[in-house]
């Protein structure tokens, strides 16, 4: 079980050179895409499309890293690597966990956006 996601606004803003405009835009885009990310993960797993699953896990890893969610990114990375090596056992739980993490992060980011607005 991962630790709860805590938004490190300062770290993200620091990486973006303090640009609040880009920061806000990224929050919006994450929220806009997160359902599609979850759906792609689930559909690829159900259909046994390992190449798609590996690629989507890679994308999600990048997304979560963008918001300094190191734990979530590590979970996505583990899926990506397992699929790459052909180790498919336990993937159902791992993917479900990653989907849950994405929704959790989305909830925090949504609140952040509402507070900022």
């Amino acid at each position: 079980m991962l630790d709860a996601f805590v938004l490190d606004r300062a770290a993200i803003l620091d990486r973006l050179g303090g640009d609040a405009e880009i920061y806000t835009m990224m929050l919006e885009m994450f929220l806009q895409d997160v359902d599609a990310n979850c759906e792609t993960l689930g559909a690829a797993l159900a259909a046994g499309e390992t190449a798609v699953l590996q690629r989507e896990a890679h994308t999600v890893k990048g997304l979560l890293a963008t918001f300094s969610d190191d734990d979530g990114a590590a979970e996505a990375f583990a899926i990506e690597q397992n699929v790459k090596r052909g180790e498919l056992s336990g993937l159902n739980d791992a993917v479900a966990g990653l989907q849950a993490r994405l929704r959790e992060v989305a909830g925090v980011l949504k609140a952040e956006l509402e507070n900022a607005g």
Binding site: L16, G17, M25, F30, V52, L63, A65, F77
Partner: protein
């Protein structure tokens, strides 16, 4: 304005990189979420910087870079590849495949700006060098053209120097050179050879410089001994010109030594027969004799064009190469035009 091509299948990354590129200033970002479509775009456009993600459907970043580099003129364009820190093997492959540098996910604005600016500076340097090379090439062409013009003028003036010593005129040189060009065209020589003979033909009699005045300017008929000396002008001209580094002057040497050869072997100085006579010599023989016949000299009236033509026709296969006569007559309209364009001026005073 720099055109920055960004390729990433993730909308959020595309948007983020676009925003960061806009912050660089003087950049026009062009976005693609599909590398194949980006490659199509690259066939028609040349970006100043490419930023490409590694992991994408249809075509990954490595394959994109390889295909991009294979396009003509895209070998030097800076390419930044976006990878995760853990993808060391991918980075090695990308470097070998033509990436110039990397951006690490998650993207950091400071790092992004520094690397992107470095790449754009590289591109600016490339453009500067390319512009400079083009400018230098233009300068060289300009200077070479000046030298060529000077060479042409010197050849003409040198040829005239020889002609000043006998009753022939500058107009004779112009006419016989242009007649030679017409024959070269009709004979089937290529454009370069046609130009070469136009420039080399004026040198045909340059060896007359070495003939004593008493013979060269003698108003009456030459004795056998005098004629033998006079014939020496062909070889003298050749000796004068033969070792030049200029292709035109070397062609002039060939014309000088061969323009008095006759097709049946009765000419001088070497008594060459038929195709053994260099083609430039065979051509100039027709042009020179025709113009000499149709020009007035102190010791003779000008022949009519028709009589001169008949002389050429009668000399086919004996004096002249039949193909050269045929080529000359085939360009008759141009011959008439040239004879009108280059009229004899007053005889030069020595």
């Amino acid at each position: 304005m720099n055109t920055v091509l960004i390729i990433d299948d993730s909308d959020i990354n595309l948007t983020l990189i676009k925003a960061l590129v806009n912050k660089l200033g003087e950049c026009n970002p062009v976005l693609f979420d599909n590398p194949l479509k980006a490659l199509e775009w690259c066939r028609e456009h040349v970006p100043d910087l490419v930023i490409v993600d590694y992991m994408m459907p249809d075509m990954d970043g490595l394959k994109f870079i390889s295909a991009f580099r294979a396009l003509h003129g895209r070998n030097e364009i800076p390419v930044l590849m976006v990878t995760a820190n853990d993808q060391k093997d991918v980075r090695y492959d990308a470097l070998l495949g033509g990436a110039n540098d990397f951006l690490t996910k998650p993207i950091d604005r400071i790092e992004f700006s520094a690397r992107a600016r470095n790449m754009l500076s590289l591109r600016q340097g490339q453009r500067f060098l390319a512009d400079r090379a083009e400018h230098l090439a233009e300068l060289v062409e300009e200077r070479t053209s000046e030298i060529r013009d000077r060479e042409k003028e010197l050849i003409f003036r040198m040829s005239r120097a020889a002609e000043f010593r006998d009753p022939e005129t500058g107009a004779h040189i112009q006419r016989m050179a242009h007649y030679s060009q017409i024959i070269a065209l009709g004979y089937g020589l290529d454009a370069k050879a046609q130009k070469l003979i136009l420039e080399a033909a004026p040198m045909h009699d340059v060896g007359k410089i070495g003939i004593p005045d008493i013979i060269l300017l003698k108003p009456g008929k030459l004795t056998t001994e005098e004629f033998e000396i006079m014939k020496g002008h062909a070889r003298l001209g050749y000796e004068l010109l033969k070792e030049s580094r200029s292709e035109t002057i070397r062609a002039g040497a060939e014309v000088a030594i061969s323009h008095h050869e006759k097709y049946d072997g009765s000419g001088y100085p070497n008594g060459l027969v038929g195709k053994k006579i260099p083609v430039f010599g065979r051509i100039v023989a027709v042009a020179d004799v025709f113009d000499a016949l149709t020009s007035e000299r102190p010791y003779k009236k000008a022949w009519s064009m028709e009589d001169a033509c008949k002389f050429l026709e009668d000399g086919r296969g004996t004096h002249f190469d039949p193909l050269c006569v045929e080529a000359f007559l085939a360009g008759w309209d141009q011959v008439l035009d040239i004879s009108q364009r280059f009229k004899d001026e007053a005889a030069p005073k020595i």
